[in-house]
Amino acid sequence: MSTAQDTPGAHGGDHRFESIAAIRQSLADVDYLADDGIAGVVYLADRLDKPVLVEGPAGTGKTELAKSVARLTGARLVRLQCYEGLDESKALYEWNYKKQLLRIQADAGQSWDKLEEDIFAEDFLLTRPLLEAIRSPEPVVLLVDEVDRVELETEALLLEVLSEYQVSIPELGTVRATTIPMVFLTSNNTRELSEALKRRCLFLHLDYPDVERERAIVEARVPGISAQLADQVARIVRSIRSLDLKKHPSVSETLDWARTLVVLGIETVDATVAVGTLNILLKYRSDIEKAAKELAGLDAPS
């Protein structure tokens, strides 16, 4: 742990989790079904005080993992939603120039030096998620969602913050984290992230869950579903994912489908039901037709 203790604000020795099994269990308690891989990486992130970069197809529980870890540790979730064009002023902090301007106009007689001191003070600072996470007195989980959308410069800024866990504001001085927050970055892999950022992070590739885990997710997340239906849903989705399709169903789509079946009062999925509701699982017409044929030997309804 030596490197971690060198870092400012490390909570040396003080860990959030007892064991990998304990993480799995606590995640399950907040209805997030992890496997040993996911739990192992979260465990290590806590021990080594490292951010986790979570990558994988859409709807596989990347964002939800961060939220669930926040929930189970009782930490506040601070979320930085990334988008193209996100910059320092939206990610870190910004001076409230409108307010500054008002003050300047109000104190028009003042010297610039005096004014400058006044207006670059705490009151005029707009705190953005990264700074917020670092300054927070209570524990937080920082979620940097869809980091692959930002430009390289913003990524460099992130890297700086995540290496030092401190932010220096020229006018105010350096702000250090009192506790190193758990950090999750998610990516849909639309862009190659910089080597430096990847080196800094633990890497977790989230893929579609296996049939047992998906069944458990369905049971946890769909109120009122029977064990039998949940099992059937998971199996059918597995079969569909084994087909060569343009887009495979995500976990969120599995859940949407399962909820629909429950609302429709369906106990058992037969071919007719499956084919009639495939449009909830699959988005492309050609995929729906293929799945209907492969699964049930039926034509999809038009």
Binding site: G40, V41, N189, A227, V269, D270
Partner: protein, 509 residues
């Protein structure tokens, strides 16, 4: 930590870039991780060493060799108890350790499985798959390897042949059909499908819908049950492979085995000579690459760089002008739309390369309206329209292969003719903003090169690039005349792997 150093060395040798920081992270990670929990160990250690999903397979193989397979030894070192799973098999595994000196491959073996008759083994196999019992599957794997793999100590092999021999003797396809037949029969007699394993009897649904065959299972039930058994069979195959590797590690050591198992990473697979399995991995890697390229191209197009806002100076300025509202606005320069013309050889000699590049064209196409695509063999045809509205590159490739009119005389590449026709029909449309990308091996079957065409094209165009899927050392040998064309190009680039393609596009954009 010797084990880790060796392991990291193997990862690097396999092409996975592991930095010093990451090596140290992994060392630190090992201090915190329970060695006996292999799944968690694999992922957590992997999280600190492997930062790309396409490298995961190579990592898993190396991990298996260095960690999982040596767990007996490691645990003994650590004073821990023996592996928790499959205790009946342990004696068997160690028996092979002894057995290999006397030729473990003869099938008589010494351990528990060796004495089993083929009939007994087949029955055990059937029961293991029918019941979906992991411990039993593990045991079957060990018995089967002892009985059928015919492993010979000291041979420098990776085990593919042993795997093949074991699987052939197990006849898993036949077993699958028997399992299905039994399920159908049971379902017909009871009126509901049988339990696959320990699941409740009616889990697959009981409704006999109209598509159900007469013998009991509906088409849907049949499909789900088959997929379930298939996944169990896959698990068995993986177990068998792991068992063979375990024995090979015992025989040859981790380092030597890992070396035999090394394969190129997906981005380094030679497109022209990829095995079916490699091609599948390549295609999986190609989709995200194409998507990435598309995003990158789009971004480059929309944004030039913009200067950062200097806030203080803005404020001072506002002050001096009496506090005129400050409303910073960023202006994005709007670069002229680049135009791209892609001209690709899709003849037999470069078929797999053509597929690969057409995916790239598709990616470019989805971002630029000004992309025109042409394919040729000895004739040439424009296929821009075939990409339109195709959201799946595979569709577009299929349509091009079936609809494009590219054969002029005999369907053997004739670059000279194809290029001449290209210039004649579309030459007027090449402008100083056009980049022309030529894709092919320049194997011209000894036809006339018509290299002057490219000279003309280059005078009209902004850039002309040639991507050649052949190794550089083959260029200009036999009927390849790539240099003759190359003198009229801005660059001729070897492009046989995803990595090379990515590098080229990176420079292009």
């Amino acid at each position: 930590m010797d084990l880790l150093t060796g392991f990291v060395g193997e990862l690097r040798a396999a092409g996975i870039p592991v930095s010093l920081t990451e090596h140290l992270d992994a060392a630190q990670a090992l201090e915190h991780l329970p060695l006996e929990d292999r799944q968690a160990l694999k992922y957590a250690l992997g999280a600190s060493l492997v930062k790309s999903a396409t490298h995961w397979r190579a990592y898993e193989t190396a991990f298996e060799v260095y960690f999982s397979l040596q767990r007996g030894a490691r645990l003994a070192e650590a004073g821990g108890e023996e592996g928790a799973e499959g205790s009946e098999a342990r004696s068997d595994t160690s028996a092979v350790g002894q057995g290999q000196g006397q030729g473990a491959g003869t099938g008589r073996g010494t351990g528990g499985g060796g004495g089993m008759t083929p009939e007994e083994l087949a029955r055990l196999l059937y029961a293991a798959l029918a019941g979906g019992n992991d411990a039993m599957v593990g045991a079957v794997a060990r018995y089967a390897v002892t009985r059928y793999a015919g492993m010979e100590p000291g041979r420098p092999v990776g085990g593919t042949y042993y795997l093949y021999r074991t699987l052939r003797n197990l006849d898993l396809d036949g077993v699958l059909e028997r399992l299905m037949a039994e399920a159908r029969a049971a379902s017909a007699s009871v009126g509901s499908p049988p339990p696959p394993g320990e699941q409740p009897a009616d889990e697959l649904g009981t409704s006999a819908d109209q598509t159900g065959p007469l013998d009991g299972l509906t088409a849907l039930e049949e499909r789900l049950l088959r997929d379930e058994y298939r996944s169990r069979i896959d698990a068995l195959k993986a177990e068998i492979e792991a068992e063979i590797r375990r024995r090979l590690v015992a025989d040859r050591g981790a380092e030597a085995l890992a070396k035999s198992l090394r394969k190129p990473l997906p981005e380094d697979v030679d497109v022209m000579h990829a095995s079916r399995e490699e091609m599948a991995a390549l295609n999986r890697a190609l989709r995200p690459l194409a998507r990435k390229l598309a995003v990158r191209l789009a971004r480059k197009r929309r944004h030039g760089r913009r200067g950062p806002l200097d806030f203080r100076s803005t404020m001072r300025h506002a002050l001096s002008t009496g506090g005129v509202p400050v409303d910073p606005r960023f202006r994005y320069p709007r670069p002229a739309k680049p135009e791209i013309m892609v001209v690709a050889d899709i003849s037999g000699s470069v078929a797999s390369f053509a597929r690969f590049t057409l995916h790239l064209v598709h990616a470019i196409n989805s971002q630029f309206s000004k992309v025109r695509s042409f394919v040729f063999v000895d004739g040439i045809d424009e296929v821009t329209g075939l990409f339109e509205g195709a959201d799946d590159p595979a569709d577009a490739v299929h349509r091009i292969n079936t609809e494009a009119d590219v054969v002029w005389v005999d369907g053997h590449s004739d670059y000279g003719h194809a290029l001449a026709v290209f210039l004649e029909r579309w030459g007027e449309e090449i402008t100083p903003r056009t980049s022309v990308l030529l894709l092919g091996d320049a194997r011209n079957n000894y036809h006339a090169s018509n290299a002057w065409v490219l000279k003309d094209v280059r005078e009209r165009a902004r850039h002309v690039y040639w991507l050649n899927p052949e190794p550089r050392s083959y260029w200009d040998s036999g009927d390849s005349i790539v240099s003759e064309y190359g003198t009229h190009c801005d660059a001729v680039v070897e492009c046989r792997t995803l990595r090379q393609l990515e590098a080229f596009v990176g420079e292009l954009t």
